[in-house]
Symmetry: C2
DNA sequence: TGAAAAAATCGACTATCGGTCGAAAAAACA
DNA sequence: TGTTTTTTCGACCGATAGTCGATTTTTTCA
């Protein structure tokens, strides 16, 4: 009763790879079973539909990306470093570059959007905790924290994820962050370096 | 040489209706030609692909929605009323309610996103003009106007288009608008009524 | 160990879909 | 009228997601 789980992970791994390479729509079930060397019936023994498989692949990707963020919130660090760390953990790291690069190719925009959307849901409460910590320390001053954090994350991903943004976008975003969280002017400039 | 244009408009009308009813993916070319009572070859005489037809349908929807906004910018009105008018023209009006209602159904999320994205492209310069007017009159004070306007529109559509938002979302958005544009606190409260 | 039960695999088959194409009908033109 | 252009037709194609009953492999447990 364990062989099944291994096969399922194998199929998820193959699908993940091919989805990134060619996009979800352009990857057929036949492509996946060809690489796995199995019959169609076997595939549908593990996944009800192709769409459901996509859900599970996205779940895998989310899990990887949020693990670091969760730990940062718990850590003993200055608030600014926590924020920087969480943001950094969501941006493509060195070894993830091919992934992020693949994700922003046009044929992957739908996957990209879905990953981002679920990522925001997870990160809003984490970042909100940090902002509350900042308020207790007097570096921030605002109410309705989760709503503010969500809007910041929304603007951030819509503006910077596609890669086509200017220095003026960054400047406005920093200004916006300071004003929305009630931080002193200039104190959030470190965000520039994280986006660059 | 005119019959063709009428037929094309008829097909666009039918497609528009069915896309809203069932979503783009769930509407087959066969569905459309069945309602139109024509053969498949005739359909492909007017449209190269189903995707291209979607483009034209979206173009129709955009055209309707932006006409009012364009005229408001030119009009002789106080800045606040222009902003209110533009925002109002983008929100679902009474007779458009079924359209917006249909657009936010999950099977239409892709159409919705594409409409919204093109809408933002068109509205950013319009609203930027109005903000500049406001700056000359001393009601606003900020730089990088188009960037700020775009972020406001982005947050607005991401937050309010789906219909599931709270009073706190609205409060934060009003606060954010005032701070981003450099308006005096309390002067943008009229936005509340427009979103409601 | 061996037989029954459960889990896993197979692949032919189906239905649907977007799209093609050459021929024919209808309309416009001369 | 004859000719050319526009429009319509529908059979056909290749690809695709998904089904299903038969078969093999693995697990269970007496």
């Amino acid at each position: 009763m364990k062989k099944g789980e291994r096969r399922k992970q194998e199929l998820l791994r193959i699908a993940y790879k091919q989805f990134l390479q060619k996009g979800y729509e352009e990857t057929s079930v036949d492509d996946i079973i060809a690489e796995a060397g199995i019959a169609k019936g076997t595939y549908y023994y593990y996944f009800e539909t192709k769409e459901q498989m996509l859900e599970e692949v996205i779940g895998m990707m989310i899990g990887q990306e949020t693990e670091a963020a969760r730990q940062i919130v718990q850590a003993q660090l200055p608030v600014h470093q926590k924020i920087a760390g969480i943001i950094a953990s969501l941006r493509p790291s060195r070894e993830e570059e091919p992934i992020e690069g693949a994700l922003m190719r046009p044929e992957n925009s739908m996957m990209h959007r879905r990953v981002r959307s679920r990522l925001v849901e997870i990160v809003v409460p984490l970042l909100s905790q940090v902002v509350e910590e900042g308020i207790r320390q007097g570096v921030f001053a605002c109410d309705n924290i989760p709503e503010r954090v969500r809007m910041l994350l929304t603007v951030s991903s819509e503006t910077f994820d596609e890669g086509r943004f200017t220095d003026r976008d960054v400047a406005v975003f920093v200004d916006m962050t300071e004003k929305l969280l009630g931080a002193r002017a200039g104190t959030m400039g470190f965000i520039r370096e994280l986006i660059r």
